[in-house]
């Protein structure tokens, strides 16, 4: 598979504090890359640089490049809205809008007004089906999204992302607030989604990284320590620090 996104010599600063140092990483199309590392290692900061979510945080600075289809998303003429449309994001806590299930999913397409001749009903149904939620909510589309269970809310958020037809999906610990069954559902869903999308997931759960991803990057203190095929990282890491972290000896 080709390279969908890549960073080159990416550094990031919160004020004077450097959070990322010279991270160069490639994300392959239609594959899942997991980013692991202890708290504060910079993996979530790194994830947020991939769709310019850090732009909203004051006193931050970025060096290096983030390429999406070989275009630098930080180029002066880059369209931030277009970038965020192509690179969708799912967060740790399910955060549906206080609206109906239908309107949660329809929100993005309505805002962008870009349905290309497809009715909103079809977009909502297609997105909910793709997020493996349709069968559970098809009879309550007009009830509030907030009455769904945590796992359903997270899948609703995924449907909301899918409705704007992204190419890359960023997931920041998407299962950390979910029970094991809901977690498995999201993991199975990810395997379906990767047939169409490039997925990058930050997770604290190493078993999850080992289960769902094809590629894994290990971050420590703002640096990318090791990156490789997931099964190699978890069975035979080359770096002592990676070994120490994944075997639970530190971190």
């Amino acid at each position: 598979m080709g390279i969908k996104m890549q960073t080159s010599s990416l550094s990031f600063y919160y004020g004077e504090k450097q959070a990322l140092a010279n991270v160069s990483l490639k994300f392959r199309e239609q594959e899942i890359t997991a980013l692991i590392g202890p708290s504060g290692c910079g993996k979530s900061t790194f994830l947020r640089t991939l769709n310019r979510m850090n732009d909203t945080i004051p006193h931050t600075r970025l060096e290096g490049e983030v390429l999406l289809d070989n275009q630098n998303i930080y180029a002066p003429d880059a369209d931030v809205v277009a970038v965020r449309k192509k690179v969708g994001m799912v967060f740790q806590q399910p955060n549906p809008f206080p609206k109906s299930v239908f309107n949660n999913v329809a929100f993005g397409p309505r805002m962008s007004g870009n349905n290309q001749g497809v009715s909103l009903d079809e977009v909502v149904e297609g997105s909910l089906r793709a997020a493996a939620l349709w069968d559970e909510v098809k009879d309550s589309l007009h009830k509030s999204g907030l009455v769904l269970s945590g796992g359903q809310q997270q899948r609703l958020c995924i449907a909301r992302v899918l409705a704007i037809e992204p190419e890359v999906i960023l997931m920041d610990e998407p299962c950390s607030a979910l029970d094991p069954i809901a977690t498995l559902k999201i993991e199975e869903l990810m395997q379906e989604l990767k047939k169409k999308y490039t997925i990058i997931i930050v997770t604290h759960n190493m078993q999850q990284a080992a289960r769902v991803s094809q590629w894994t990057g290990f971050f420590l203190m703002g640096e990318l320590v090791e990156y490789g095929i997931t099964r190699d990282i978890f069975t035979n890491p080359q770096n002592k620090k990676t070994e120490g972290y994944i075997t639970g000896r530190f971190g």
Partner: protein, 221 residues
């Protein structure tokens, strides 16, 4: 953040493998001694005692499964446990080969010896020496030693061939020796297979340390 409980359990697991190895080494010694002295009672006891080797193998396997299920071992820890699971299979089979020699002793009964009993005990000594050092390589993560031991398997193979040729001559010269000579060839074959099993253990040591599976006992055939 050290994982003291897990570290301790992983160490205990490896210690049990060492203990099992010493049981197998003793079984090899006893099998040869009982054959040499035609002590049928000792041979019978050895056959009965093989159950203990099987027993500890299942105990270690159970401990390993517990560790995998409860500790989610990764990387070197995972490879250690997988190596242990493979090594105990080889050790258990070596115990079976020793038991096989004891059974041959029973079949030989009180028939007079064909010739002085030298090469077969020598094969047993070489094999035990290889076994002891393979487990030392396992504990110390010494891949150089593990690779060295594999090259020594040829010596046991050569001794086996020598025993085979000599016994063939006996059989050609006197058909009355065929049954005894055949039994001894079986005994020699049991030892030859034990040494092969030691090379498997060495391969697992290399896998455990370096993370790659490597065929190190390449047959000359």
């Amino acid at each position: 953040m050290p994982r003291e409980g897990f570290e301790r359990q992983l160490q205990q697991l490896q210690n049990k493998v060492l203990f099992m190895g010493s049981m197998v080494e003793k079984a090899i010694t006893r099998s040869i001694e009982s054959m040499k002295s035609r002590n049928l009672e000792a041979a019978r006891q050895l056959i009965a005692d093989d159950l203990e080797i099987n027993q500890i193998r299942y105990e270690i396997e159970d401990d390993a499964i517990q560790l995998i299920a409860t500790q989610q071992p990764m990387a070197a820890d995972l490879r250690t446990i997988i190596a242990v699971l493979n090594i105990i299979t080889d050790l258990e089979r070596m115990g079976d080969h020793a038991e096989g020699i004891a059974k041959i002793t029973l079949m030989l009964g009180d028939e007079p010896p064909l010739k002085p009993f030298i090469d077969i005990p020598r094969m047993a000594d070489r094999t035990k020496h290889m076994l002891r050092r393979s487990l030392s390589a396992f504990i110390t993560r010494d891949t150089t030693l593990a690779r060295q031991i594999c090259t020594e398997d040829d010596e046991v193979d050569n001794l086996h061939e020598q025993v085979y040729r000599e016994l063939l001559v006996f059989m050609l010269q006197d058909v009355k020796t065929i049954s005894r000579a055949t039994y001894l060839i079986w005994a020699s074959h049991n030892l030859e297979r034990m040494a092969d099993r030691v090379t498997n253990i060495c391969e697992r040591v290399v896998f455990m340390v370096e993370g790659k599976v490597e065929e190190m006992n390449v047959s000359k055939y």
